[in-house]
């Protein structure tokens, strides 16, 4: 027992060192743009972990999840930009964004409680689109969201007067903005991973699992289905809202187009592809699906080097290959790249349709 604990400590320490050094290595090896990609991967990890609570833990197929990302992002953008001339501090804006998203999660979750499976999917999809369309049109009669133009000049993430958009020197090292974002996002991811793992292995987590496995049996076993479902929606939305706030401050510009259905679908792909309900799998899925399209951008260079010219637009090709990769990965690993040990067992024993 003690030995296992010690090896866990060693593995944890190595992992921490690895994660801390990763962006520096990326910057040296692949260039600064890759640090930005790592930042995005962390944001998507936050999103995927949040959606995993709803879909993976509680089994509620939510196709409008990106709406909560949008709520968090717009809360940040409206309170920290020239749009209304407000510049609230981070410690107020981020929690407010997460809380607003949670509120939306409950408001949108409440009417869907009786719906099952694919009906739930289409209703959440509808809500997601409705929120996006409202964001798109709430520039008249009163201009709130600035419509399709979106909100620009959003304040970068900042602690007091320290803005993460400006480089800082620390212990002889110059920390570029992408590096600083990386460490902030990494901290958020670690907190969310911690919460997700603790929730999974708890009375609440078991209640979610019960609903996922058999809603009726769960109700008859004393699970207050309604509240437990709403809690899942709210928790998932909270993480989504947090990620949205970080995204707005990181990007400096948001518009409704950043929150279309394809984004929801992407996040869903991340968790299914990685291994639903299994935190390490979900993280792998998020990182993989963020990095893969970016890595495929290099196809243009490859064509130049090997064929002498660009035969096909790399931007078109990369999404094509991405789609093919999605299909191939699912065909070879239908339970995900890194399914939980339990699902693996289940999958081997009996393949229920």
């Amino acid at each position: 027992m003690r030995r296992r604990q010690r090896s866990a400590w060693i593995a944890g320490t190595l992992l921490a060192i690895g994660l801390a050094c990763l962006p520096l290595l990326l910057q040296i090896g692949l260039g600064r743009s890759w640090v930005r990609i790592a930042d995005l991967a962390l944001l998507y990890t936050l999103l995927a972990l949040g959606l995993n609570i709803v879909v993976g833990y509680a089994g509620l197929l939510d196709l409008g999840y990106i709406a909560f990302y949008a709520v968090g992002a717009y809360v940040y953008a409206l309170l920290d930009s020239p749009q209304f001339g407000l510049h609230w501090p981070l410690w107020a804006v981020l929690p407010l964004g997460a809380a607003s998203a949670a509120l939306f999660g409950v408001l949108l979750g409440a009417p869907t409680l009786r719906l099952r499976g694919d009906y739930l999917a289409i209703v959440t999809l509808g809500f997601g689109e409705i929120i996006r369309i409202f964001l798109n049109n709430l520039n008249a009669p009163v201009n709130i969201t600035n419509g399709p133009q979106g909100i620009s000049l959003i304040d970068p993430l900042h602690f007091g007067t320290i803005s993460l958009a400006a480089p800082h020197r620390l212990a002889g090292l110059t920390l570029s903005p992408p590096l600083q974002y990386y460490y902030l996002f990494l901290a958020c991811v670690l907190v969310v991973v911690f919460i997700a793992l603790r929730l999974q292995d708890s009375r609440i987590g078991r209640a979610w699992a019960a609903i996922r496995e058999d809603e009726l049996a769960a109700a008859a076993s004393g699970i207050p289905v309604r509240n437990v479902k709403l809690l899942a929606f709210a928790m998932g939305a909270t993480f989504g809202g947090l990620a949205g706030g970080l995204f707005a401050g990181f990007q400096g510009f948001i518009s409704p187009e950043s929150f279309n259905l394809m984004e929801s679908v992407m996040v869903l792909c991340m968790i299914v592809l990685g291994g639903m309900g299994h935190v390490p799998g979900v993280i792998l899925g998020a990182v993989l699906l963020t990095v893969l399209p970016e890595a495929l951008r290099m196809l243009g260079d490859w064509q130049l080097n090997h064929l002498g010219r660009v035969v096909a637009d790399p931007d078109d090709l990369r999404m094509l290959l991405f789609g093919l990769a999605l299909i191939a990965m699912m065909l070879f690993r239908p339970a995900g790249m890194l399914p939980s040990p339990r699902h693996r067992r289940e999958w081997r024993k009996d393949a229920r349709p």
Partner: protein, 256 residues
């Protein structure tokens, strides 16, 4: 013996079909009470109405003197009525132990903060849940399968697991929907022994639906007979056996 559960004039219809009409029953504390009747007589509907899965169209259900009709399922379970299902409904992808731990939900309290902070109180509660669940698995005789997925257990063990899950909520009334279905005679006998033993040990009142009339006659203290949603009679097995309407409606088919 004092009364634990009373149905008065409970009806339930689905569209034009009268699944239960004006059913009145009275079950005393500590009784093993059987519910028999042909297929489609309304037995399972009665269970669903009792456990809050379906609200009654009219009538009253009093449990320990308090009305429970119209309450949501989890509230009814909190009051002390737990059930099993005719077509076993476990959480197939979870382990046997987890299934029983979920049954403990209504008697425990840890919330979101407890789960995240995992403070002493939550840890103690978790340990207690786990210990209690293990103990119940032991009681129903499937402790060796604690870490097996419920969906992979044998049929008989799944039935037992479902009973253990129901017991985890510390019920006063245990409602078993065809617990012996699909079992061979030896398994049935051992199940009957288990039910008696559980009643005595946990001071339960047990309500059973079962098709095996011989088993029911041997097991139950009293029984009610339903036919077409109506109660034909409610009596001790020896008198039910010879009741003319019962013979006509149910036993007449060659089983008597």
């Amino acid at each position: 013996m004092s009364e634990l559960l009373r149905f008065s004039g409970v009806s339930r219809h689905f569209g034009g079909v009268q699944a239960l009409s004006e059913v009145s029953l009275s079950i005393s504390r500590g009784e093993l009470y059987g519910l028999i009747g042909p297929n489609g007589a309304g037995k399972t509907t009665l269970f669903n109405v009792l456990t809050g899965l379906i609200p009654p169209s009219s009538g009253e259900i009093l449990f320990d003197g308090q009305p429970v009709h119209g309450l949501p399922p989890h509230r009814i379970l909190e009051r002390g009525i737990a059930r099993t299902f005719q077509n076993i409904r476990l959480f197939p992808g979870l382990t046997a132990l987890e299934n029983v731990m979920i049954g403990r939900h209504a008697r425990t309290h840890a919330g979101l903060l407890g789960a995240i902070l995992r403070n002493r109180r939550t840890r103690n509660e978790e340990a207690a849940i786990r210990a209690r669940a293990a103990q119940l698995l032991e009681h129903v005789g499937i402790a060796r399968h604690a870490q097996a997925l419920a969906g992979n257990l044998s049929y008989g063990d799944q039935r037992r697991l479902e009973i253990a899950r129901a017991l985890a909520s510390d019920p006063r009334l245990l409602a078993l929907d065809e617990p012996a279905a699909g079992m061979n005679p030896a398994e049935r006998d051992s199940l009957a022994r288990l039910i008696r033993q559980l009643r005595d040990e946990f001071q339960l009142t047990v309500l059973i639906i079962e098709h095996d009339v011989r088993l029911m006659m041997a097991l139950c203290d009293r029984m009610a007979v339903l036919d077409f949603g109506e109660k034909i009679t409610e009596d001790v097995p020896d008198r039910v056996r010879v009741h003319p309407r019962v013979i006509r409606a149910y036993l007449g088919g060659g089983e008597a």
